[in-house]
């Protein structure tokens, strides 16, 4: 799985950090998303999928590899 985040779409809601804190963080200066793990380990995939599905800015894009 590869994760891409779009800082322009990010509205700083923090849902991704609450759901998958190992993969996402927010910048202290403006609350915008920081991607910690662009290729997260398999045990984090379901949390990352949930974070992407509920992101209010639709700022998280996933590519799933076979």
């Amino acid at each position: 799985m590869k994760v891409i985040v779009d800082e322009d779409k990010c509205c700083g809601a923090g849902q991704c950090v609450l759901i998958a804190p190992e993969v996402f963080d927010q910048r202290d200066e403006d609350g915008i998303v920081i991607l910690l793990e662009p290729e997260p380990a398999a045990d984090r995939h379901s949390a990352v999928r949930e974070a992407a599905a509920v992101c209010p800015g639709a700022a998280i894009e996933l590519t799933e590899q076979a």
């Binding site: 509205c11 950090v17 202290d28």
Partner: protein, 404 residues
């Protein structure tokens, strides 16, 4: 007469405090773009489908400029209340200016900061619950816990004294209640509130504290990358109001929804790991979330195959959208494990609720502490006796009688 031809009065009343009006399902199915009449008598267009509401809330053509001359007034008072006020227009509506404001203020509401507040929130909740226990059962969970907790937290973040909370509650109510107050009362309350915040900011300029407003002042004016004085003032007022009624009401509604069928409470006692998904599910199913979000259309646009002319006022009912069967499986059922749960309770897109991480954290902490301290909690009245507060832009229950 079918629902397509009649002009519904909005908000649509519901017979039961926790249940949605039957019209929602009918509107989603047959009339997703409906004509409604607001408390002011003005007409607006109501959206109830998930895809439409989500799209419109994230579409910059649907603005928040409800003070436009041809925008529908929500309430009968001249300035139409909170959403129509000139004050609301001081915070930039869109584009880079809005993003700048959002990021300056948003840094205070990150998930990390909210997580850091957890121990403090838990202590406040424990203290409030101890107070309820001392006073003895039955007690009102709304007055004893739901209202004070978010108020203490937001007052602390803004550096305003929690002792003044009765005043804030009144000012907040006059701004958010669409039917209860007359024009003179609202104007007087707004003027007092404005003066209070203005004095408070003057004091913070002389003696800055470790709080959001002091930091906004320290960031300097627009020329230094900060906000204008009036913007800081309105931001302070907006956050105080927003931090007041929303989560405060949601705590009572969440607990009521869970206790309405006590097997839900028992499941949470057995599986506290479900607290996070449970909070999201109660937010999704909150049938009494309030007015919804109004938007003003500055150019002709199409929604669900209907052309909306320029100047249309649109009301997005997130609560109706959150029960859309095309977006959620068994949408009318409460599923404490639902995941993902992309509900629209906090809106969607660039304007989605700034304080949502705060609200989520408060709701999770309250539920955690309640389950731990009062595992025997139950409603002290039948669900059918719970009553809604009428007229509020943000819905709530009048009282939440509980025993333990």
């Amino acid at each position: 007469m079918s629902i397509n031809e009649q002009v519904l009065s909005y908000p649509i009343p519901s017979d039961a405090a926790l249940d949605p009006p039957g019209e929602w399902a009918e509107l989603r199915g047959k009339c997703p773009v409906a004509h409604v009449k607001l408390p002011s008598g003005d007409q607006a267009t109501l959206l109830t489908r998930y895809d439409d509401v989500k799209e419109v809330l994230a579409d910059p053509r649907f603005t928040r400029l409800l003070n436009a001359p041809d925008a529908a007034r929500l309430s009968a008072t001249d300035d139409g209340g909170l959403f129509n006020s000139e004050m609301a227009a001081i915070i930039p509506d869109g584009g880079e200016e809005h993003q700048h404001w959002r990021r300056l203020v948003g840094k205070w509401f990150t998930a990390k900061r909210m997580n850091a507040l957890r121990p403090q929130m838990a202590r406040i909740a424990e203290g409030l619950i101890d107070g309820m226990v001392e006073r003895g059962a039955p007690g009102d969970l709304r007055a004893g816990l739901g209202f004070p907790l978010p108020v203490y937290v937001i007052c602390d973040m803004l550096g305003v004294p929690a002792e003044d909370r009765d005043q804030f509650s009144y000012w907040s109510d006059t701004l958010l209640n669409l039917t209860r107050y007359g024009k003179d009362e609202i104007e007087a309350a707004q003027a007092e509130f404005f003066q209070y915040m203005s004095d408070h900011l003057a004091a913070k300029r002389t003696e800055p504290g470790d709080d959001l407003l002091s930091e906004l002042i320290a960031a300097g004016g627009p020329e230094d990358g900060g906000l204008a004085e009036i913007q800081i003032l309105v931001t302070g007022m907006a956050l105080l109001v927003a931090g007041h009624e929303t989560t405060a009401n949601m705590i009572g509604k969440m607990v009521s929804m869970l206790l309405a069928d006590r097997t839900r409470w028992e499941r949470l006692l057995a599986e506290p790991a479900l607290i996070r998904s449970t909070v999201e599910e109660t937010l999704r199913l909150d049938a009494n979330s309030g007015f919804g979000l109004p938007r003003y259309l500055k150019e002709e646009t199409e929604v669900s195959g209907t052309v909306l002319p320029k100047g249309t006022t649109v009301i997005c009912s997130m609560a109706a959208a959150n029960r859309d069967e095309s977006a959620f499986e068994a949408a009318d059922q409460m599923d404490l494990t639902r995941s993902p749960n992309p509900h629209l309770a906090f809106g969607s897109g660039a304007h989605s609720c700034l304080g949502q991480a705060l609200a989520r954290t408060e709701l999770q902490v309250v539920l955690e502490v309640l389950l731990r301290k009062l595992p025997t909690l139950e409603l002290a009245v039948p669900v059918t006796e719970l009553e809604r507060v009428e007229g509020l832009a943000v819905g709530g229950l009048r009282t939440v009688p509980v025993r333990w």
